[in-house]
Amino acid sequence: MTVERFRPDLALIASLIPAGSRVLDLGCGNGDLMALLQGKGCTGTGVDVDPERVLACLRRGVDVIELDLDTQLGEFADDSYDFVVLSRTLQTVHKPRAVLTEMGRIALHSVVSMPNFAHWRNRFRLLRGRMPMSKDLPYRWYDTPNLHHTSLPDLEPLFAMLGMVVERRIPLDADGHPHRLGNFAANLAASSSLYLLHTER
């Protein structure tokens, strides 16, 4: 199984998680990330609610638990995982603050990625009087799973408020690769951003 078959940001997330970790992947989709992580000796569980995706996980040997991120994360015990991953999903939950709080309870370490609404292309579209659409925000306003939009300077204070310390911020380009400008002018340049966090205990 080669890394190239997966979304580039998933490979990046996998590289941030030490071998042997126990990982909970919220919004795990087809189980691509968990499969990558299993390849490096990690264990863990995916969470999703889409029947097709859940079946795909089971078929490939990725354990998956069907539950609602907004209301049922209480099913997982305190510190029952080493890492919780929420990849491109925070913008789709009803209560991002509650979900992040639960993540901090379930594991010490978190990886969170989210589209950047303040990316320069989005700003241009708004200046032209149109709603932003991009590879990271591909949906029409009336047909989108995304409930929340944020810029990076508006996202990071939420982490701080919840006692989640940013260890690394990795701005990504539209293809999910680390942006070649790194953290330079990230709020303008990054199409989305990936955060490695730990929660203060």
Binding site: R22, T43, T45, P51, V54, L55, A56, C57, L58, R59, R60, G61, D63, V64, I65, E66, L67, E75, F76, A77, S80
Partner: protein, 376 residues
């Protein structure tokens, strides 16, 4: 005419196990144990492709295929067979009647060799672990040291859970459907009323009815009628019967006037021909007392040698609701046991686990396909 996808004509076999006696959890020794079982498919050379099916309260060894001359297949025929979710082209499937039952395995109606008469209420109170020990005895007889999976719904799922907790080395995977790790007060209440119906029947004769030529037929059929209500959802009853009359139009009497009354009567009557009242008491009581996680060390053995779990619940099951399954998931998760869980949409209630629901069977198939890949 055998339909396509069926394992075909099958026979129940019987074997005598535990020549040195079986010490039950209660400490009482059963000098011998007969076990009725069936198998489907072919055991491979490595003896690695076996799946054990644990049946529910009133099930038996006849899970799939047809007994000669029968026009109804075994109780879980829709999931077991060539090409079905538990695919007998891949798997060697074993199903046995549980200890304390009345379908060929030793139970309270069996003859006690010490007296030459039926055990009756001298039969020891049983425990979930006793069922598991007898399954393991049959496994030894069949020369199978490890099952790729054990599968069961309701009481069957409870046996699978107990088996994985006590002897994880025996199992690769545990598939637990519509089960519980601890009955609620309401569950026990239903169970108690069923037993009272049996024990208050004048034919019960303090449990000595087998030697006194009576039988608590009214009580057993009422127990079955009551239990049957808990196996279906309100929607299922409404969909099947609504308020329709049994004979054209409602007559206004205390007899069987509504169609649903006739259905329950039929279920109760049919049950009498295949079930023993004492077995019903013994088996329901095992469920009442089952509470494996009450022991703080219950998961220690499993933690040291994890079995992979798939748990499934059904949205309209009000006997063992999704919360029962979630409780098992929470315990397994906290112990870091590899666990998958799905709640399947179904309007049919507890009996959903016996039905051919596409999403449910696709889940079982996906999970076992991966298991098949691992043993190949």
């Amino acid at each position: 005419m055998i339909p396509e996808g069926s394992v075909g004509v099958v026979e129940t076999q019987t074997v005598r196990l535990f020549d040195d006696g079986l010490t039950t959890r209660s400490g009482i020794v059963l000098p011998e144990v007969q076990v009725a079982y069936e198998t489907y498919g072919t055991l491979n050379e490595a003896r690695s492709n076996a799946i054990y099916i644990c049946h529910a309260l009133t099930g038996d060894a006849h899970a799939a295929g047809y007994h000669a001359g029968d026009d109804r297949p075994g109780w879980w025929d829709n999931i077991i067979g060539p090409g079905r979710a538990i695919d007998t082209d891949t798997w060697f499937v074993v199903c046995s009647n549980i200890l304390g039952g009345c379908q060929g395995t030793t139970g309270p109606a069996s003859i006690n060799p010490a007296t030459g008469e039926p055990y009756g209420t001298d039969f020891p109170l049983l425990d979930m672990t006793d069922f598991v020990e007898v399954h393991r005895g049959l496994a030894r007889h069949l020369g199978i040291t490890k099952f790729a999976a054990a599968v069961g719904g309701s009481l069957g799922g409870m046996q699978v859970l107990q088996w994985a907790l006590d002897h994880p080395e025996d199992l690769g995977r545990a598939l637990v459907f519509a089960a519980s790790s601890r009955l609620t007060a309401q569950n026990i209440a239903f169970s108690a009323v069923g037993r009272q119906a049996i024990m208050r029947d004048s034919g019960f004769n303090e449990g000595k009815f087998l030697t006194r030529g009576t039988a608590p037929r009214k009580g057993l059929s009422v127990a079955r009628m009551l239990a049957h209500i808990t196996y279906l959802s309100e929607h299922a009853f409404q969909e099947k019967f609504g308020r329709s009359a049994q004979r054209g139009e409602l007559a206004g009497n205390f007899g069987i006037d509504f169609a649903v009354e006739s259905y329950l009567e039929y279920q109760g009557e049919r049950f009498l021909s295949r079930f023993d009242a004492l077995s019903y008491l013994y088996l329901t009581r095992v469920m009442d007392y089952f509470d494996p996680f009450a022991d703080a060390r219950a998961l220690d053995t499993l933690k040291a040698d994890p079995v992979r779990f798939l748990l499934v619940s059904f949205t309209s099951d009000w006997r063992f609701s999704t919360e029962h399954t979630r409780r098992i998931v929470r315990h397994l998760e906290e112990a870091r046991i590899p666990t998958s869980f799905r709640e399947i949409q179904s309007t049919w209630g507890h009996d959903s686990f016996l039905l051919d629901l596409p999403d449910y069977h696709a889940t079982v198939r996906a999970y076992l396909d991966k298991a098949a890949e691992e043993i190949a």
